[in-house]
């Protein structure tokens, strides 16, 4: 777990101990660290398939990581089409793969 985290770097310092943030990915308990985006935390866990395309059901991962391309869209706490590459991880978040265009549950 978290094998892709950089431990040593000639310029940047990633050694700081950051608070662990627990969340679920498709109902499975996982964790990232404070300051991670959802997509970065999942990637660090080796999870690259985030969702599926709506009609052909092809695997979808992020592409741009700055909120442009919508390839990282997932369902977060019941809300579809969340750009997980620019959304900061929060304790207890329920993150799910999105398999359709998204359905909005208007209260």
């Amino acid at each position: 777990m978290n094998k892709l985290r950089i431990k040593e770097h000639p310029i940047l310092d990633f050694s700081e101990d950051r608070k662990r943030i627990n969340f679920t990915f498709n109902n499975q308990s996982v964790y990232g660290f404070e300051g991670d985006t959802i997509a970065a935390a999942l990637h660090a866990l080796g999870i690259t398939k985030l969702s599926e395309s709506a009609s052909l059901k092809r695997a979808r991962g992020f592409y741009c990581a700055i909120g442009n391309c919508a390839s990282c869209n997932m369902i977060v706490d019941g809300i579809p089409n969340v750009r997980t590459c620019i959304t900061i991880l929060k304790e207890g978040m329920k993150v799910e793969s999105q398999l359709n265009k998204g359905e909005l549950n208007v209260k």
Partner: protein, 362 residues
């Protein structure tokens, strides 16, 4: 509806500098940025910048970002909304914003569009597989969040971004199998290419990507040689085992907001694609709406910094806030921009501005 004098869309180098200079002219502004942090793409640039001292040469992008962000956050005339996306722009200078969960309308008096650029992609079989990332995404992942994109990667594109990001990947402990380039020559500076070669990373020119292979993730990449007519040479295919593929084939200005208003736009490939036609003061054809940085033409961060300063100055003047050194500073910025666009590497940009027409400052 809220009311603001000057709204700056985008908190990268151009937007931050525009806000700082507007404040210097006594004009208050609101910076709106969709990201959780300011700084735009500077926050992932671990390399030192070229150019002159004025544009922070010999300083790493991450450190330039820290300085600009500190200056903005300490300035009482500058308000910042992060995690907020501008979703609509109207010719009467109304903007709509999604701020966290709230949808807001703002009547402004002047707007600076400093939205930056977006990564281009390439057409090839299976180019949508997870593990295939734009160069900017790779930088964000490793230099901002400290996560490697994979362990074995192939780079597509030998422009400065492709070369620099390849080196940064090695610094993060990722094995770079090679850089492929469809053209016959390496696109970026020789100093970057030599550095990579010294580290044992091969650069394959006249080579492109034929397809990616993998089920739910890229597992292999098939490359192919091109002849002088850019046709694939049968039998020259090669397979690389990878767990990530990085696409560094350039950027295109993010003009989706500008396309919502009736300002003059033109397609100029040298400037990155569809761009607004600007006056010499970086004003669009709609008075009071300005554009700067990569949003108006894809160039270096140093140009974005100078354009931002220029726009901060002229947008303030439009609102009645005249900087005491207005003329002197303006001439200085225009001279700086000419200087940044001089020489062989500035030729593309100069040609682009000629094609764009209008009284541009190039």
């Amino acid at each position: 509806m809220l009311s603001k004098d000057l709204v700056i869309i985008g908190g990268g180098p151009a937007g931050l500098c525009a806000a700082i200079n507007a404040a210097n002219a006594g004009v208050s502004s609101l910076i709106i940025d969709r990201n959780p942090m300011l700084g735009g793409q500077l926050i992932k640039q671990t390399h030192m910048f070229f150019g002159s001292e004025k544009q922070y040469a010999k300083t790493r992008g991450i450190d330039i970002a820290k300085r600009l962000i500190k200056e903005v956050e300490e300035n009482p005339l500058i308000e910042v909304w992060k995690n907020s996306t501008v979703v609509g722009l109207y010719s009467d200078k109304v903007i709509t914003v999604l701020k966290e969960e709230e949808y807001l309308k703002i009547q402004t008096k002047a707007i600076v569009v400093a939205t930056g650029a977006s990564e281009k992609s390439l057409a090839f079989e299976n180019n949508d597989l997870p593990g295939i990332y734009g160069a900017g995404a790779v930088q964000t992942l490793m230099n901002v969040y400290g996560v490697k994109p994979g362990n074995k990667i192939l780079m597509v594109g030998s422009g400065n971004i492709g070369l620099i990001v390849s080196y940064q990947l090695m610094q993060a402990g990722v094995k770079v199998l090679g850089v492929i380039e469809a053209a016959g020559n390496i696109g970026g500076f020789k100093v970057h290419a030599s550095k990579l070669r010294r580290c044992g990373v091969p650069i394959y020119t006249n080579t492109t990507i034929k397809r990616a292979i993998g089920k739910d993730k890229v597992e292999q990449v098939e490359t192919v040689k091109l002849n002088d007519k850019w046709e694939m040479i049968a039998g020259s295919e090669e397979i690389f085992d990878v767990d990530a593929l990085c696409i560094a084939v350039g950027l295109t200005p993010m003009t989706s907001l500008l396309s919502m208003i009736e300002c003059d736009m033109k397609y100029v490939s040298e400037l990155g694609g569809l761009v607004p036609v600007l006056s010499g003061d970086n004003e669009t054809s709609i008075p009071g709406i300005f554009a700067c940085g990569d949003a108006s033409s894809v160039e270096e961060a140093s140009s974005a910094i100078v354009e931002g300063k220029l726009v901060g100055l002229v947008a303030s003047k439009y609102l009645g806030g005249i900087h005491p050194d207005y003329e002197k500073l303006k001439q200085e910025y225009l001279a700086d921009l000419d200087n940044l666009r001089s020489g062989p590497f500035g030729e593309k940009i100069r040609v682009g501005y000629q094609k764009l027409g209008g009284p541009n400052h190039a």
